[in-house]
């Protein structure tokens, strides 16, 4: 009887311990998932930052006639839109 009672006590302790470990495992698995997601995000950021670096370099080294501040060389033909007849109405003939 004594041993029977202690056996069931051990059984109960065992079950409680098991539940604790299972809960802990579940928490650890969840944490691993979060960490993996973050790693993936960082990997994406790494690749994206290389892409951004390259884009910045490309954009800032190309002369652009529409920018107020731009790399040279300038091309005089860029200003051809402001030479010659300046009328903003242009040809007015209508299609019949």
């Amino acid at each position: 009887m004594q041993s029977g009672r202690s056996q069931s006590m051990v059984g109960r302790i065992d079950t409680r311990g098991k539940h604790r470990i299972q809960a802990e495992l579940k928490r650890l698995d969840q944490e691993a998932r979060f960490l993996e997601e973050e790693l993936e995000h960082l990997e994406k950021m790494e690749k994206a930052s290389t892409a951004c670096k390259e884009m910045l370099s490309k954009v800032e080294s190309t002369p652009d006639p529409l920018l107020p501040i731009t790399n040279g060389p300038l091309n005089l033909t860029w200003d051809r839109w402001f030479e010659g007849p300046q009328e903003s109405q242009g040809c007015k003939c209508w299609i019949l």
């Binding site: 098991k18 470990i21 299972q22 495992l25 650890l28 698995d29 944490e31 691993a32 960490l35 993996e36 973050e38 790693l39 995000h41 960082l42 990997e43 994406k44 950021m45 790494e46 690749k47 994206a48 930052s49 892409a51 951004c52 670096k53 390259e54 884009m55 910045l56 490309k58 954009v59 800032e60 190309t62 002369p63 652009d64 006639p65 529409l66 920018l67 107020p68 501040i69 731009t70 790399n71 040279g72 300038l74 091309n75 033909t77 860029w78 200003d79 051809r80 839109w81 402001f82 010659g84 007849p85 009328e87 903003s88 109405q89 242009g90 040809c91 007015k92 003939c93 209508w94 299609i95």
Partner: protein, 389 residues
């Protein structure tokens, strides 16, 4: 499972978590740029802008008389739906609801050709690389080619030289493959894109459709890579953009998700490694073709008002500026690096009086042409003082 087995798993899980923590720590330390600036964890939505700002870049600023309208091309009697520049010599072809194509000399504003179309419901037009032909397509499901040097018929109309027949839906967009007048790519409401051989009038390749994987809704636009003409992108009502290699019909090389509405327009970035899109969801986005990244979203809040749709986009020749036309008449000039609107061509002097439906840069990037539902086209150029660095 026994307690002993559970304890084993527990120990293994602790090891796995510690390993992941260590890898993360190392990764974070590696994520520095060339100058040693630590990159903050920006949302990928605003990544490029965050990066540029962290490097101290300041946004483009225009004075009030910098970007001006220097020509208004009048002549269409209906909404302008599409326009395209020649690769040289400042000529433009435009397509309108009035059922005509007009070819303009943008410098002198004169019309060199006014082409009455067999089908009035035109949606798109394109200039051939040599400038000798123009193409158009629309609700008739066909792409018609006109040789600008051919003689007009008895009624004074330019005859169709070639008809490209085969789509099972409307032709939404067409673009010639650069460097030769032989190949053209069309997009269609039948969910496919097609590469055509103009000399035979036959389809060389069909991308998507019922026998292969591709878009799952109407395709609204195409853009061919300027540095590698075997590559093109297409935008669709299925909300995606897809990257294609003309040698591979069976499937797209890559699918770009992100938009929450029809992708109405897309254009390759000048260097061909990225492309921009514009959508019914009111945003423009920038994607990198090599890794599929969405580098930036361009969106301005409008409060409680309805979000205007993006109808058309174009990049300036360096890629620093993104021009975007919207359904409410706005034409935002975005600083692509900092994702800020630096000018609205829809609210300056001499702006259009209705929605801007199409826009395009001249070949040397010195001017922007906009086409509008107000029946006009306008040419914009930089008339201010330039600072050279």
């Amino acid at each position: 499972m026994s307690v002993a087995e559970l304890k084993e798993r527990h120990a293994a899980a602790i090891e796995a978590v510690n390993d992941l923590r260590e890898r993360l720590k190392q990764r974070r330390q590696q994520l520095l740029d060339a100058d040693g600036h630590k990159l903050h964890s920006f949302s990928l939505l605003y990544y490029l802008a965050g990066y540029a700002r962290s490097l101290g870049r300041s946004q483009v600023t225009f004075g009030p008389t910098d970007l001006v309208c220097c020509r208004t091309l009048q002549g269409h009697t209906g909404k302008v739906y599409s326009l395209d520049w020649t690769p040289e010599r400042d000529r433009i072809v435009s397509a309108s609801q009035d059922g005509r194509l007009i070819v303009w000399n943008a410098q002198t504003s004169q019309k060199t050709h006014a082409i009455k179309l067999p089908c009035a419901w035109v949606m798109t037009c394109a200039f051939s690389p040599t400038g000798q032909s123009v193409a158009c397509g629309g609700l008739d499901g066909m792409c018609s080619i006109f040789n600008l040097n051919s003689a007009t018929d008895r009624d004074g109309n330019l005859p169709v030289s070639v008809t490209l027949n085969g789509h099972k839906g409307y032709v939404s967009c067409c673009q010639y493959v650069p460097d030769e007048d032989i190949h053209i790519i069309t997009s269609s409401g039948d969910q496919t894109c097609v590469l055509w051989d103009i000399t035979t009038g036959l389809r060389t390749t069909v991308f998507g459709g019922e026998f292969q994987s591709g878009h799952t809704a109407d395709v609204l636009s195409v853009s061919i890579n300027g540095t590698n003409s075997r590559v093109f992108v297409s935008g669709s009502c299925d909300g995606t953009a897809r990257l294609w290699d003309t040698r591979v019909a069976s499937r797209a090389m890559r699918t770009f998700q992100g938009h929450e509405g029809d992708v109405n327009t897309l254009k390759f970035f000048p260097d061909g490694n990225r492309f921009g899109t514009g959508s019914d969801d009111g945003t423009c986005r920038l994607f990198d073709i090599r890794n599929g990244h969405q580098l930036q979203v361009y969106y301005q809040q409008h409060g409680d008002k309805e979000v205007p749709l993006v109808t058309s986009i174009a990049f300036s020749i360096s890629g620093r500026l993104l021009f975007a036309g919207y359904s409410n008449g706005d034409c935002y000039v975005w600083d692509t690096l900092l994702a800020r609107v630096v000018l609205n061509l829809g609210s300056v002097k001499n702006s259009h009086e209705n929605r801007i439906s199409c826009l395009g840069l001249s070949a040397d990037g010195s001017s922007l042409c906009t086409g509008s539902w107000d029946t006009n086209l306008k040419i914009w150029a930089f008339g201010g003082h330039r600072k050279v660095i």
